[in-house]
């Protein structure tokens, strides 16, 4: 259960209020801003939260603030808002995936479409897994909850249910950034080098770790121990390279790259295939043989047709000589006829 809702120490709350208001900045507006369900970019919605609106619910939250302050620098506090419109137009889903890589204050809300605002006696429940959450912010047509996430255990699916004549449901999935591996295997050859790359898009991990699968378990790759076999290189903040030298058949298999974020870890899968040099050699030799056969066929056909032509030409010559002889005996008239023909 998220610690957001356990209440303690009101005195500390006053002290904190004083500190924050002294540090300046305008109080944040907790009322839900109207956004499209399609606007789900966390980065674009980040607001610097430096003050507290007194209308925010309960003493529970201050404890969270305190914990947050002790865990990170004040200036790093990020605040994001997400909203789902219910009952939802066909086409837009009533689920949203929210990616968080670091401790965040987050507000989730379900807004009722204006067309349905006439519905009275709506019962709204917020749930996290099976647990029901209290302390719902209610405004005119929307119901929201504020959360502080700083731990992996706080991630998961938060859902709101609006029960009236019909039931409307919306879910927010809070998760760490996903790392994509490669679906297609990387093909390499024995004795060669293989380079495997993992990238994180948009979020910078704090650490990268590589694992290889040995049977059914994953074994971490220690590149300092086996420096002439593995080389792990963090090319940039978001990219890591694993170079495997002197490949053998045993290196064939599945590898995992794990990115560590503040809020948890995420893995990407890569496959390595190690082939022997014989594998491409067979098609190569087959094609070369085919080419040789074709070239031979073409040349043989040419020799054959030349022989035929020569025979035909010899015969023709013979005929022409015969004709010339007969012409000479027939006179000039025949030759002029032949001219005109051609």
């Amino acid at each position: 259960m998220p610690a957001a809702f356990s209440g303690k120490r009101p005195g500390l709350r006053l002290l904190l209020l004083l500190c924050l208001s002294l540090s300046g900045g305008s109080p944040a507006d907790p009322t839900v801003t109207t956004q499209d369900a399609s606007h789900s970019q966390a980065n674009s919605l980040t607001k610097m939260q430096t003050g507290l609106n007194v209308s925010s619910p309960g003493p529970d939250l201050t404890t969270q603030e305190f914990k947050q302050e002790t865990k990170e620098h004040v200036s790093n506090a990020t605040f994001v808002e997400y909203e789902i419109l219910l009952p939802g137009v066909s086409g837009t889903s009533t689920e949203k995936n929210i990616t968080l890589d670091r401790a965040t204050r987050i507000e989730l809300s379900c807004r009722l479409d204006n067309k349905y605002s006439h519905l009275k006696s709506l019962q709204v429940t917020w749930k996290w897994g099976n647990e029901t959450l209290r302390h719902i912010n209610k405004t005119e047509n929307s119901w929201g909850i504020q959360l502080r996430i700083w731990d992996n255990s706080q991630l998961g699916s938060y859902s709101c249910t609006l029960k009236g004549e019909e039931e409307m449901h919306a879910v927010f999935h809070l998760q760490v950034p996903k790392i994509e591996g490669k679906e297609k295997p990387i093909v390499s050859y024995e004795g060669d080098t293989a380079v495997m790359i993992c990238k994180s898009y948009g979020y910078t991990p704090t650490a990268w770790t590589w694992y290889m699968t040995n049977g059914s378990e994953q074994v971490a790759i220690n590149d300092s121990l086996l420096a002439d076999k593995y080389v792990i290189n963090r090319v940039s903040a978001n990219v890591t390279h694993l170079k495997i030298l002197k490949l053998t058949k045993e290196d064939d298999g599945i590898y995992w790259c794990e990115a560590g974020f503040e809020l948890g870890k995420s893995k990407g899968k890569l496959k390595l295939k190690v082939l022997s040099l014989m594998v491409p050699l067979k098609p190569f030799l087959a094609i070369v043989a085919e080419v040789i056969v074709l070239v031979t066929v073409v040349f043989l056909y040419e020799i054959y047709s030349k022989k035929k032509e020569k025979c035909a030409a010899d015969e023709k010559e013979f005929d022409q000589i015969e004709q010339l002889k007969s012409e000479e005996s027939n006179g000039l008239e025949n030759s002029s006829t032949r001219h005109r023909k051609i």
Binding site: V187, D192, L275, I287, V291, Q320, S335, I342
Partner: protein, 509 residues
Amino acid sequence: MPPLANAGQAPGPPDGGWGWAVVCGAFVSIGFAYAFPKGLAIFFKEIQDFFGTSYSEVAWVSSIMLATTYGAGPISSILVNRYGSRPVVIFGGLLCGIGMVSAAFCTSILQLYICVGFITGFGLALNLQPSVIIIGKYFLKRRPIANGLAMAGSPVMLCTLAPLNQFLFDNFGWRGSFLILGAILLHCCVAGALFRPIGAPTPPVKPQVTGKGKDALKEEVTEDAMEMGSPTKVPMEDKVEEEGGKACCEKINQYLDFSLFKHRGFLIYLIGNVLMFLGFFAPIVFLAPYAKHIGIDEYSAAFLLSILAIVDMIARPTTGIIANSKWVRPQIQYFFSFSIAFNGTCHLLCPLASGYTGLVIYAIFFGLAFGMVCAMLFETLMDLVGAARFTSAVGLVTIAECCTILLGPPIGGTLIDTFGDYKYMFIKCGAVMVLAGTFLFIMNYYNYRMLAKEEKERKAKEENPKPVRTENEGRNSWNKETTRDGPELEPLSKEQEGLKEEVNGINEV
């Protein structure tokens, strides 16, 4: 179906028969030469990761290959002039194979530049030029169709190579793929085997030769060691003593005909084409990135290129058939200029295309225009300089085009980077091509008029009882005869005259 073949010796281009087998060979050869550098792009990502280089360093491989293929044109021409098409193409095929097989064992990007870039590029150059040349030797009346069909090899090979390369890469990695591609490139040798040598298409000046007797004629025709690529060789053999002074220049010209630079038609073609190539390839290179830029997903963007290739495939032979029709053939240069200008207009209108449908329409028209231009690219050159000097002409043209071909996409890229907008690149390409088309149109109009004038003068001269043909057959009169190859009706009637003389020759003996 050889129309004038039955007279016996050197009947003129067969325009059929074995010529169609030659077209098949040229189809394969030209296809590999144009499509192979583009098809390699699939491997670049993996090679870039493997060697740890930047994308531009890997893209150099393709650029070097393209540059070598075009830049080695003159060398190719010299070799064809000396040895004929067949040995050159077979050697080129072997070179390509060796290049790619050695590339499979490379351990640095520099070695890739040499193996894939230079060696394979040079092999492809030795494939491209001779294939185009031999079509001119086998066809005259149906030459545009033959050219259109042979040039259709490029999009067909590209459509075949792209998925094939992907399949090879998925199963064998880049090293295994290069090995197998080396074997596939050996099929150029098969194409070369089909290029049977043939005698000169237009009978060189006969009366002096027939003086030697029938045997000499027969010897020339059945000689298959060397094609009579350069007609100047025949008259030269007769008067080596007379022209001792010019022997050196003529010897160079025998290998590579630099006197083409005095040829009006050739110069027009050269300037127009060099200008056109500045804007020719850039739109293809940037079509997919542009589509992604305006929000289209990767697969649909790739599909645009497929549409382009398919339309291109159909457009090339069709253009060949249209160009061969009796209305278009005499004015083929105008048709060529029109297709270039049409191409340019497509690019100028592209920025107006909004959304995927607009781009699909653009891709269709672009494919059509691209195919039209490519189908007639070499046909118009043959039409201007004649089949005899085409060997040297194509070499000189390709090396001149080489510079602008290489400059085109980078200039486009710079425009895109500077302005952050693709439309300026399209406008630049469109403007350059419309300019080139207009230039060619005007200059060819002028050229046709000059040719008509020269034709009138020649006819006037012939009416005087001066025997033009038995005179000193130096380069000058031969030049005149070949420049008259412009309007295609001329050589046809010339052939008939030549034939009459042959028949006379036979009867004399």
